[in-house]
């Protein structure tokens, strides 16, 4: 068992973990930040995406111990300071970019990372970037729309 400490959503967090404990379980089980979801065991689904030192990471592929000393951001820390939804979260609600909500934390965290690097992506770039995030509910249509809207753009859809 080792002691790890990191900053999570701006607050310092400490816990004792086994060497094999994943960052996703540390967040969910130790810190009780259950907004980060686990949808697979092969690093394919992206439900677990968080930011580690500003970079989008699948928290199921990283050991908690590897994140020792890091700055971690999760879905719980995304809202504005007054508690209102941030631009991306608000766009997801406005454009119905979520149904069951299970993929949503990962989608929002991925979208945030994309827009940080590429503030005006094309529709194709959004779809490409979401390669590692599976949603079974929305058919992606409204997720793409939401991310485009969060970037201040509209998606052209024939006859809509």
């Amino acid at each position: 068992m080792t002691q790890v400490s990191m900053t999570v959503n701006g607050k310092s967090a400490t816990g004792t973990v086994e060497g094999r404990t994943l960052l996703s379980s540390f967040l969910r089980d130790t810190l009780e930040l259950t907004g980060t979801h686990v949808g697979c065991d092969t690093s394919q689904c992206g439900a677990c995406v968080v930011h580690v030192n500003g970079v989008a990471v699948k928290s199921c592929t990283m050991l908690a111990a590897e994140a020792d000393g890091a700055e971690v951001a999760t879905i719980e820390g995304q809202a504005n300071a007054d508690g209102s939804l941030n631009v991306i979260q608000q766009a997801f609600q406005d454009h119905h970019g979520l149904q069951c909500g299970f993929c949503t934390p990962g989608m929002v965290m991925s979208a945030a990372a994309l827009l940080k690097d590429n503030p005006k992506p094309t529709e194709a770039e959004v779809r490409e970037y979401l390669e590692g995030n599976i949603c079974r509910c929305t058919g992606y249509h409204n997720i793409v729309k939401a991310i485009m809207a969060a970037s201040g753009q509209d998606v052209a859809i024939a006859a809509e």
Binding site: G35, H37, L85, C100, G101, R127, E128, C137
Partner: protein
């Protein structure tokens, strides 16, 4: 003008706020004090006799609390099947025992053999590795046709063979159908596979059992679409716990698509173990486990024939299907290839004679049950493929052939038991033709060809039976349940309402859409209405959500309960205004006396109900709370016309969806934004089935596509933006909202649309191809182009 509230408004979803901020409450987010963890040791071979289970070493490992085996479940029931099919000869289907933990034999990869309970999950997993299970491997049978041969291995030794049932529908029409085929001017035949799928809701299943010794009450938290059904099935048939001693909670559930309808072994195990150990017991499925333990979907092999007369009128349809049940009967498995499939074989057409034969087969594979659409996608796929093929054989326009045979008068009694109450298939097709820009197709095809691609246009029409279902009818058909829905509407003293519904939301947005209906009825703000669902302790007995039934059946129950509320409130208002009850009108949240300027606000009446100082106590009770159970008198019949354009890469055979357009009839629509989203999601599941998804077994019963590395889930870059429309709804005539249901349409309508488009593309390139089996993978398309 878009409405800003009530029926027909695209109200934003209130549940989104918690989901977008990480505040959802999914089953795996629940942890109880002192909980233990269970890990299932599952069979890695498909068929064999268990000769020995040695748990001694494992039991001694750190943290191990108890290891359960099949022996612990001898005294309890097996997992029940909720639907009995009677075969062509009047015999009941074969119904083998489905043990909670393997009982002497294993019959599919993934079948649970032992359940290891330990203080931590890691300890449970480690201990499972120390269990020694000796299994004498037996030959497995995976292929359905082979399973029906005389020398096939038997999945169940105590059954005479692997056939669950041999069903004929409509059996009395069999001769007349043969006759029609003898007299046909043209017969088109298709042999089709409806590929096996894994539903894959993104949230894996979870079960958390809890037991309270002081009250002797058990609680199960589970990822279910229908907690009351689980309580009844597990309590009455498996564990022998009466409903009043058992609570089932399905909190936020991360998608279902059918596979979370069923009662699973893990639920029974956790509930049983929590009581046996007097401590909470939790199981969280891994995705790898989900692939071999969630019920699969589809897996039909069919021959369909269509008979036409000299004028191209459809005169008869005849089908013969093998339907895979897997190793055991999952909860509703037998109903899927029969009543949810055979009754749709008339489709949108006035074909007078239909005969459907289905042989359901046991194999050494994971049980197969309902998956989004359940039976109706299979029916649509067959019918729309054979019609498309017939059009090509006859050299007629596929749309014209369909239009010529459309049912155009409603109500319409089909030859397959169901009666369509409303619809307008021509108008849907008109809408589709207009918005899919068929005129521009030739130019788009030319452009694709200039880029070295073949372009195809596929059309499809479908109808489905939703709003499941009239209880007396399904009872006659073998359902061992009623299929009504319930709602309790509780009005509080200050005028707010809580609706406790038997429907369950796992992505459908009930918490937003249901209040829209009540807000419209009373004329108050949606924010005054709260929806409670998912907990048997505080909702009336209801059957849950599947089969696009929530708004049609659950919504109707809520309307009926609200009508009772309004009737009683009018009595109170009449008393308060000293007027006659028959003169009271409710509008915009106020009661008024017709023809006067007297009125009282909604809140005054609700307050009077709970503070009955000035109140007709001799006539009515205080309080304002009503319950209604709604049992539909018919199914609802959503229908649609879909168009898809694909591009086929001539070099690789890769298929790209270039354009997808829908025109749906969902009857009246409560929240268009949510309905659009349901269609998008269904479309991508159907496109996934058509192009990439496949649960493939090898001949030894090993699932080859058992993770996201091998099972191709549609990703964002696999699909385009969609053009969807539901502006041509014909209201359902028999429920109070005129609604039909929209959850499954996309998944039902899209697979044949895609395949029809691929065939069109290939034929445009001069390839003599009239069918490609799903999933239409690059390899299959490439082979078809060579061929």
């Amino acid at each position: 003008m878009p409405k800003d509230g009530g029926i027909g408004a695209s109200s934003k979803r209130r549940e989104d706020v918690r989901f977008l901020t990480g505040a959802g409450n999914y089953t795996d987010d629940i942890n109880l004090r002192g909980q233990a963890y269970v890990h299932f040791l599952r069979s890695d071979i498909a068929h064999g006799t268990i000769t020995n289970i040695d748990t001694a070493a494992a039991s001694a490992m750190p943290g191990v609390v108890r290891i359960f085996t099949g022996a612990d479940f001898q005294a309890v029931g097996g997992l029940p099947c909720g639907w009995q099919i009677t075969d062509r000869f009047g015999e009941a289907m074969k119904e083998p025992r489905h043990p909670v933990l393997a009982d002497g034999k294993v019959r599919h990869v993934g079948e649970p053999i032992c359940a290891v309970v330990a203080d931590t999950l890691e300890q449970a997993r480690d201990a499972a590795e120390a269990i020694v299970v000796d299994i004498d491997e037996l030959p497995a049978v995976v292929d359905m046709a082979k399973a029906l041969t005389a020398d096939s291995p038997k999945v169940h030794d105590d059954l005479s063979d692997n056939m669950c049932y041999d069903w004929g529908f409509v059996e009395e029409n069999k001769e007349a159908v043969e006759e029609a085929f003898r007299n046909a001017a043209h017969v088109t035949t298709c042999e089709l596979t409806n590929n096996r799928l894994v539903a894959n809701p993104m949230e894996p299943r979870v079960a958390l059992g809890d037991y309270d010794r002081s009250s002797d009450n058990s609680t199960l938290y589970t990822t279910s679409q229908n907690p009351h059904v689980i309580r009844l099935l597990m309590g009455a048939f498996v564990l022998g716990i009466p409903e009043h001693k058992l609570r089932v909670v399905a909190p936020d559930v991360g998608g279902g698509f059918g596979t979370k309808i069923f009662h699973y072994a893990e639920e029974a195990l956790c509930t049983f173990a929590a009581k046996a150990l007097n401590r909470p017991v939790k199981w969280t499925s891994t995705r790898s486990e989900a692939f071999v333990s969630d019920a699969h979907g589809r897996d039909h092999v069919t021959t369909i024939e269509l008979a036409l007369d000299a004028d191209n009128n459809f005169t008869a349809v005849r089908t013969s299907t093998l339907a895979n049940m897997g190793a055991y009967l999952s909860t509703f498995a037998p109903s899927v290839p029969t009543w949810l499939h055979g009754t749709l074989m008339a489709g949108n057409y006035k074909t007078p004679l239909v005969y459907v034969n289905v042989r359901a087969v046991f194999t050494n594979t994971v049980p197969v049950d309902a998956y989004r659409g359940a039976g109706r996608p299979e029916a649509t796929f067959q019918l729309e493929r054979v019609i498309d093929k017939a059009a090509r054989e006859l050299g007629v326009d596929p749309i014209a052939l369909r239009r010529q045979n459309f049912v155009s008068e409603f109500p319409y009694q089909t030859p397959v038991a169901v009666a369509y109450d409303s619809g307008d298939f021509h108008r849907l097709m008109d809408k589709l033709e207009a918005q899919a820009d068929f005129e521009g197709f030739a130019a788009r095809r030319a452009k694709s060809e200039a880029e070295g691609k073949l372009r195809g246009l596929g059309i499809n029409c479908f109808i489905e039976a939703c709003g499941i279902a009239p209880s007396n009818l399904v009872g006659q058909l073998g359902a061992r349940a009623g299929l009504y829905e319930s709602a309790t509407v509780r009005v509080n003293a200050t005028g707010g309402l809580v609706v406790m519904t038997g429907s369950h939301s796992h992505g459908q947005g009930h918490e937003t859409a249901f209040p829209q209906v009540i807000a419209e009825m009373i004329g108050i703000d949606e924010s005054m209405i709260e929806i409670v669902h998912g907990d048997t302790a505080n909702t009336p007995m209801g059957m849950g959500t599947y089969g696009s039934r929530s708004i049609a059946v659950g919504g109707s129950a809520m309307v009926r309960a609200t009508e009772k509320i309004i009737n009683k409130a009018k009595k109170i208002a009449a008393h308060l205004m000293e007027a006659s009850e028959s003169d009271i009108e409710l509008k915009d949240g106020a009661f008024s006396v017709a023809g006067t300027d007297k009125s009282v606000a909604w809140g005054d009446v609700t307050l009077a109900a709970y503070v009955p100082h000035n109140y007709p106590l001799e006539d009515i009770e205080p309080g304002l709370e009503e319950t209604a159970f709604y049992d539909p008198s018919n199914f609802t019949y959503p229908a649609g016309a879909y168009a898809c354009e694909v591009e086929v890469d001539k070099e690789t055979g890769a298929v790209t969806i270039a354009k997808f357009t829908t025109a749906d009839d969902f009857g009246n629509v409560i929240n268009p934004m949510i309905v659009d989203g349901q269609v998008h999601g269904g479309l991508v599941q159907g496109i996934g089935q058509a192009l990439m998804e496949n649960a493939a077994y090898d001949e030894n019963g090993q699932l080859l596509s058992a993770s996201y590395m091998d099972y191709a889930m549609p990703r964002a870059s696999d699909v385009p933006m969609f053009t969807v429309d539901h502006s041509n709804g014909t209201p359902c005539t028999h429920n109070p909202l005129g609604v039909k249901g929209c959850g499954e349409a996309g998944a039902i309508g899209s697979p044949p649309t895609v395949v029809n488009a691929v065939v069109d593309a290939l034929q445009s390139g001069g390839h003599k191809v009239d069918h490609v089996d799903m999933p239409v993978s690059p390899a299959r398309v490439w082979a078809a182009m060579q061929g």
